[in-house]
């Protein structure tokens, strides 16, 4: 029995698999995910990884081959049940916004409120227009709006009927990078303000890191890892996830009593419960290393490449491992730091323990 205190997931996806006709490989494979009330969840992955298909199955535009989906505990797909999209109470914001070109902003927003009495329609529309910062644009037609405005209209339209769940398909991909950062914050705050639950699909880790409470990263239809953005960033389960969130150093290491013996020396860590002497792969982000004068646990290296990246500088430091092979380690250094003769020492900072990869 479910206890009362436990928050009931708004969305429960359980073992959903979908194979398109004429294709051998499933587009979505054994996908399970719970989304809690008020969360913003990101489905992250490259194009073709099945994230949009999953989103469309939640909305009801595709039907899974097997598995089940529950929204607020109600079975919408699975076990021979199928609830039509219009009866799911799921709002959706499309990549192309899908605003009705023959209707004004107000009419677009009002479109899903047809079940309410006229007076209430007006009140709700006015409220959502205020909330989304669209005041004064109500009489315009979609073609008279900018990209960001269109997006806000699309969001307002989806939110107006107070859906249980709002889905956003690549919501920021059509915006230029300046607008993008601003819209991310805005949309996240609107979703939070309206106490909605949101799921969005993206291929951009910046979107995820900025606004998602939880991420599911997908590849070839399979969820590789689920968790908070910082968990995925710092503790990726494999190289693919590690590299998806940015550059990283993948190091061969051996488990010792104090941590891991790596080509860059001993990295101290505990609590991994791995047998001593086991060979493992570690992921260490460049910012976990620093270039320093040598105190302890440091390694002489030669800087072979420098990239100035604004807040920091990315150095490729060449070291030699025990067997004499050369290895480039990426290290972030403050932009002002200068190494004499390209010589330096690199050291693991030790504030974030390394991530053990499973491949």
């Amino acid at each position: 029995m479910i206890t009362q205190e436990q928050p009931k997931p708004v969305l429960q996806i359980s073992r959903v698999t979908k194979t398109f006709p004429g294709s051998c490989d499933p587009a979505v494979n054994d996908f399970s995910l719970d989304v809690e009330e008020g969360e913003i969840v990101a489905l992250l992955g490259e194009s073709g990884c099945g994230k949009t298909t999953m989103l469309r199955m939640i909305a009801g535009f595709e039907t899974p081959g097997s598995g089940s989906i529950r929204i607020r505990g109600r079975l919408v797909v699975g076990d021979r049940a199928f609830v039509e999209p219009e009866r799911r109470g799921v709002g959706i914001v499309f990549q192309d916004y899908a605003l009705f070109p023959h209707k004004t902003v107000t009419e677009n927003i009002c479109f899903g409120l047809f079940r309410y009495p006229h007076r209430e329609q007006k009140a709700k529309t006015a409220e959502i227009i205020r909330l989304t910062g669209l005041a004064g644009l109500g009489k315009r037609y979609p073609h008279q709006l900018s990209g960001g405005q269109k997006q806000r209209v699309a969001l307002a339209r989806a939110l107006a009927p107070e859906p249980r769940l709002i889905l956003l398909d690549e919501p920021f991909s059509n915006l230029d990078s300046l607008k993008k950062a601003q819209m991310r914050e805005e949309i996240a705050s609107i979703i939070k303000k309206t106490k909605s639950t949101g799921i969005f699909v993206t291929h951009d880790t910046k979107d995820v890191l900025a606004i998602a409470d939880k991420v599911a990263i997908m590849k070839n239809g399979i969820i590789l890892q689920t968790g908070t953005p910082d968990k995925l960033y710092n503790y990726p389960v494999n190289q693919y996830v590690a590299r998806f969130f940015g550059k990283t150093n993948v190091l061969h290491a051996e488990v010792t009593a104090d941590g891991f013996q790596t080509p860059v020396g001993l990295i101290r860590a505990n609590g991994y419960r791995l047998p001593l002497g086991q060979k493992v792969l570690l992921s260490v982000r460049p910012e976990q290393f620093e270039v320093s004068g040598c105190h302890e646990n440091c390694l002489p290296a030669t800087v072979t490449r420098e990239n100035f990246l604004g807040e920091y500088k990315e150095l490729a430091c060449r070291i030699e491992n025990e067997s004499g092979k050369e290895l480039d380690i990426l290290v972030h250094a403050p932009p002002g730091q200068i190494c004499d003769d390209q010589r330096c020492h690199i050291r693991h900072k030790g504030d974030v323990p390394p991530s053990v990869l499973n491949d």
Binding site: T17, T63, G65, E86, R87, Q95, A98
Partner: protein, 548 residues
């Protein structure tokens, strides 16, 4: 099948869904005449059939083949030649020819047929003029007896070459000029370029155009019957009206359908093999080369001949005759006939457009292979000659009526010989016309609009009404207009299925012409031609817009 592989979701979407059920009903309705014909085709015939089979079918087959061959050759010559000239060269009158060359499409072939016969007839104004002024006397007919197989080929070709012209010209337009420029840079002259580069390149387009023209040839009843060329289509009428033999009419329809299917098959395989298009090459439009002097004049003459024969001369004759017989013909009866005819065409077009919207939306909303096959079947009717549709519709309806009349409260044939049967047959025949127009309109509406509306709580019906239809007004209007014209000028199907004593403009014109009263047929024909010009002029506006 393992349970986890069974896609119960999509299964559920199909069963018990009224959109799909209506689409199934529609496709069954269209398939009914074909099923009737197929069922009858392999039955043993009676004595009448054996007479027809041995005495008449051989000449039907020869004539039909000659017509197909002759019209095929002539439409390719006229259509491709004119398309090549107006696409590649600048010569006197080119800008007018570009659009004017499709005008013959506005004149139904049977009207061209009796107009030309009347024009070359002993009493025609042209012949009278030549005889009185210049003493030219060539017997009963001016120059040659047009009421013959070659005459029929000529009439059908000048009526149907625009199909070839239109598609081929559009094809040349989309081809990269580079290809022709390369051909020139390799030392090919214009003739060599035409035969070695343009013609092979345009083959898919030419095949598509010619097969449309030949479909029309198989559909034609008016010209063949008027010119005394016995084909399968006229044979169906003979079997039906002269012998009263339904079974023979069905069997002949079956034979005719064999021709149709061979044609469809040939066109499909041609198109399947050849997907020549210069993709990936940066396209820049053709810059027409200036043709001056003799070349320009010859090009002008080549283009003006089909235009004169297929549109200008017949139109002038129709106007001339109409002024002669105006006071005689245009009375209250004329107007009431006009009203009837327009009302019938309007009703039929409304039904067709409604069905087309239903079908197009179902295909859009339930994009599965099953629904697509249904759509294919439902739009097959345009390939079925009108007489075949009529016979295939009439016979099941007669059967049904004969059952119904045995019920105590029924005392007349309920379906046969009513508008119901007629409109049903128009639906079968012209569904594709409406569907193609609606479908291309729907393709321009992003599907995310539908999905957005559904996620906002709208059912399919509401989505169609509130999102698709408001955005489809143009497509709906053109679907209505095109169907309207097709119904208005339709002859064989209407002749067979019309209610007793019910005439349309087309039938009245044809009957007057058959009674050697061509001048009296002219006002009726003129109304059809003028109405038919509306979509042609709209199409021209589109062609004009496409190049500017």
């Amino acid at each position: 099948m393992p349970l986890h592989k069974f896609n119960f979701g999509s299964f559920r979407r199909y069963t018990g869904n009224r959109w799909v059920i209506w689409t199934i009903v529609l496709s069954l309705m269209v398939a009914l005449p074909l099923i009737t014909i197929a069922a009858e085709m392999f039955s043993r015939g009676d004595a009448v059939w054996h007479h027809i089979l041995h005495e008449l079918v051989p000449s039907y087959a020869t004539n039909t083949l000659w017509l197909l061959f002759g019209v095929g050759m002539l439409t390719i010559t006229l259509g491709v030649g004119a398309a090549w000239l107006v696409s590649m060269f600048q010569f006197p009158g080119r800008n007018i020819f570009r659009w004017a060359l499709i005008m013959p499409i506005a004149i139904p072939a049977y009207i061209n047929g009796f107009t030309w016969a009347g024009m070359l007839d002993y009493t025609s104004p042209l012949y009278t003029f030549l005889r009185n002024q210049f003493g030219i006397d060539t017997g009963t007919y001016l120059f040659f007896d047009i009421m013959s197989l070659p005459g029929a080929i000529f009439i059908l070709s000048i009526s149907f070459y625009p199909y070839v012209y239109l598609i081929t010209r559009a094809y040349f337009q989309t081809q990269s000029a580079n290809l022709f420029e390369i051909s020139a840079s390799l030392g090919y002259g214009p003739w060599r370029t035409f035969f070695r580069t343009a013609l092979p390149l345009a083959r898919p387009a030419i095949v598509a155009g010619v097969s449309l023209a030949l479909m029309e040839v198989l559909n034609d009843y008016g010209v063949a019957s008027y010119y005394g060329v016995d084909t399968f289509t006229t044979g169906i009428f003979t079997a039906w009206f002269a012998f009263g033999d339904t079974s023979a009419a069905l069997k002949l329809s079956g034979y005719l359908m064999v021709f149709v299917f061979v044609l469809i098959f040939a066109e499909r395989t041609q198109r399947g093999q050849m997907r020549y298009s210069a993709q990936g090459i940066r396209k820049h439009g053709l810059t027409p080369k200036r043709l001056s002097g003799t070349g320009g004049i010859l090009a002008g003459i080549f283009c003006s001949l089909p235009l004169l024969a297929g549109f200008i001369l017949p139109a002038i004759m129709l106007i001339w005759w109409s002024t002669q017989t105006f006071s005689l013909i245009v009375d209250a009866g004329f107007w009431s006939l006009l009203r009837n005819s327009f009302f019938l065409a309007g009703t039929a077009s409304l039904v067709v457009v409604a069905a087309a919207i239903l079908l197009a939306y179902t295909v859009r909303a339930y994009s599965g292979r099953f629904v697509k096959i249904l759509a294919r079947i439902t739009t097959l009717g345009y390939a079925i000659p009108g007489a075949v549709v009529a016979v295939g519709v009439l016979i099941p309806f007669l059967w049904l009526d004969n059952r119904l009349i045995q019920l105590p409260w029924v005392n007349t044939l309920l379906i046969t010989g009513t508008w119901l049967a007629l409109i049903y047959a128009y639906l079968v025949r012209f569904m594709a016309v409406g569907y193609n127009s609606i479908d291309s309109g729907m393709e321009k509406i992003p599907e995310s609009l539908d999905e957005a509306a559904r996620s906002l709580g709208m059912t399919h019906g509401k989505v169609l009404r509130k999102v698709n239809l408001p955005l489809l007004t143009g497509a709906t209007l053109s679907a209505f207009l095109l169907t309207f014209i097709d119904v208005l000028k339709e002859l064989p199907l209407t002749l067979i299925l019309r209610p007793f004593n019910f005439d349309t403009l087309a039938i009245r014109a044809f009957e007057f012409a058959t009674d050697e009263r061509v001048a009296e047929a002219a006002p009726y024909a003129l109304v059809i031609v003028l109405t038919g010009m509306v979509p042609v002029l709209l199409l021209n506006k589109y062609i004009g817009g496409e190049t500017s």
